[in-house]
Symmetry: C2
Subunit: 150 residues, 2 copies
DNA sequence: CCCTTTTTGAAAAATATTTTCAGTAACATC
DNA sequence: GATGTTACTGAAAATATTTTTCAAAAAGGG
């Protein structure tokens, strides 16, 4: 289904500023920042404002028409690092993080991607989110409090 | 090797502000933002400034004493999304990105992590970096231009 | 058309990060 | 232990990024 239809069918209005942003993103072959989107979309709709780009990205993201990619330096949290190559899994509730080593399980994936895409895999960003043991227990007893709310 | 030694052996000075930041990070069990680090480290060294936190994080990162974790909403680039769950690989040279589907290869890893850490894996962030076919070719012929430079 | 509601862009506010710079402190050398 | 060099520091300002506010404009159903 065309993006404009998706907007319309979900109760969003199809406006000129949005059409400009849609066209830019539909043609994108690399991750574009809001500023980059603005610059390109202004060629189609000169009065476009950066705010509208942000707002439209929120909408497109919610409708799963775009996906976002983290840029290299966009780091917002720091952890002590165990020597060597590791990744982290962070608890979605309490934010406690633990590292885990090793990429053996990923090598197969990397080789497959190289065959499928023709890219050479040089680096990767892998980070898991989940529930730590403690928070899993809390979640398990969550049903009970419902009785109290009645 | 202790962190202070690593600093010293790499020509960095061991200062009171840095020691405060080190202590905070060494004890961290979740990813801390520069502001969070500042707040905690000021209990040890009240005159500490946020700038020093940023600068010390750069140093610790370069020495691989800390690792950084991306936070949920820290998205800085957007791409059109193919329907369904995908990941992207981005060319380190030209930034061209392509998607790839599927997590079959990751399921084994996830189950292993769950056993090893006790965490339940709910979500994940996987993004690859590499060289696209075109940039691989350019890289291959890179040696030649050296002759011209002589 | 008309009406209601959403959407828009400017401006301001709120956040986040980097640069500048003069004063301070680390530490190698004596 | 004093000294000199140089790295390091924090305040302030600059820059960059994202969100909020608000009055005007536009979408689209009736
Ligand atoms: Mn890895
Ligand atoms: Mn996946
Ligand atoms: Zn938890
Ligand atoms: Zn490329």
């Amino acid at each position: 289904m065309a993006w404009e239809e998706v907007l319309a069918q979900n109760g969003y209005r199809v406006t000129a500023p949005r059409r400009a942003i849609l066209l830019v993103l539909q043609g994108a072959t690399q991750p574009l920042t809001p500023e980059e989107i603005l610059a390109q979309a202004r060629q189609l709709h000169p009065s476009l404002g950066l705010v509208t780009v942000y707002r439209t990205l929120d909408v497109l993201n919610a409708l799963e028409l775009v996906r976002c990619a983290h840029r290299d330096r966009a780091c917002h949290g720091f952890l002590p690092a165990t020597q060597g190559h590791h990744h982290v899994i962070i608890c979605q509730k309490c934010h406690r993080a633990v590292e885990f080593p090793g990429d053996e399980d990923l090598e197969g994936l990397f080789r497959r991607i190289e065959e499928q895409t023709g890219y050479r895999v040089c680096d990767h960003l892998l980070q898991l989110a989940g529930l730590c043991p403690a928070c899993q227990k809390e979640e398990a007893i969550e049903p009970y409090p419902l009785e109290e709310k009645i």
